[in-house]
Symmetry: C2
Subunit: 186 residues, 2 copies
């Protein structure tokens, strides 16, 4: 069993991530004692999307190409319309998602973040949720889409939007402390 106080959590994002969907998990998981690392497909800083326009930035800690899933206990995928659309077109980002899915460690995606799980073909036969606009993409990828604040299936945690951030973070903590799942490779 992993305590959240000794857990290493990776957040993968790039320009256009929804600001609250990166900051709230980062700040809440840090408060509970976890070490949180921000990975991206670029170096320097990544610029948020703050509801209706570009917002402030956060520094990038590690490039996606240098991430080893073995070094972390869970992966968090924020949404935004722009961020996952860029990440899903980048093979180094997809490799990170695929490696975490294959590892059986918790993978948590919120809002438009589940597009990355679609791209990694990680939702086939699983229950999941997302921002409602992309539910057809999740269903077409083989998911059973559910209109719930947080849906967990075999360590894959999904939520609908920023209003679900509290149960989303709580579920990440719960799944990290529960440990890894037996999961088929993606």
């Amino acid at each position: 069993m992993t305590s959240i106080q000794s857990a290493n959590i990776l957040i993968l994002a790039t320009d256009g991530y929804e600001r609250s969907e990166l900051r709230v998990p980062r700040d809440e998981l840090t408060k509970r004692g976890a070490k949180v690392t921000i990975a991206s497909i670029k170096t320097g800083e990544i610029k948020s999307w703050d509801e209706t326009d570009w917002g402030d930035s956060v520094p990038v800690d590690i490039e996606a190409k240098n991430v080893r899933a073995a070094d972390y206990d869970a992966l968090v995928l924020p949404g935004g319309q722009i961020n996952p659309d860029k990440l899903r077109a980048d093979e180094t980002a997809l490799d990170v998602v695929r490696d975490f899915v294959a590892s059986g460690k918790p993978v948590a995606a919120i809002c438009h973040g589940p597009w990355l799980l679609v791209e990694a073909d990680a939702l086939r036969g699983r229950k999941a949720t997302s921002y409602p606009s992309i539910r057809t993409d999740l269903r077409n990828a083989g998911a059973t889409w559910q209109d719930q604040a947080v849906v967990t299936d075999n360590g894959i945690i999904t939520s609908r939007s920023p209003k679900d951030l509290v149960p989303f973070v709580d579920k990440i903590v719960e799944e990290v402390e529960e440990g890894r799942h037996e999961r088929r490779a993606a």
Copy 2:
């Protein structure tokens, strides 16, 4: 046969449409004599996305809920990451897309615009293209995705990005002049 000079073309978009993907079809089709009408899910103006940030606006001519496909010869769906994500969550916009698909009239979508064809389930068994980031969504919706400037299958015209706008518009003209297709209802 419909001449482009007497054709009525509907463009459906909302805030966050990629500027060139609305303006180039609008201006080029107008130059060739067509009457072009802009429909949206809001009244007033819709604000463009100009490559990396919000751009200028265009006036809305008609609300989606008041559109009758019978009044037009073709439908054009610009992309942008934000615009189709908003439209696909709006039933009045989807009704417009479904009505045009069912009518057999040409439906042309570029870049991220094909998400609306995914939402209307109009691509099953068809060849299509799109911005590459969403090709998995098209494939999962039953399309055979092709990396070509313009793909036409039974009057459904798709293109990849703004760099394909010239052949995209040319194909719209060609399909409008060819007339309607026998197409199963969506």
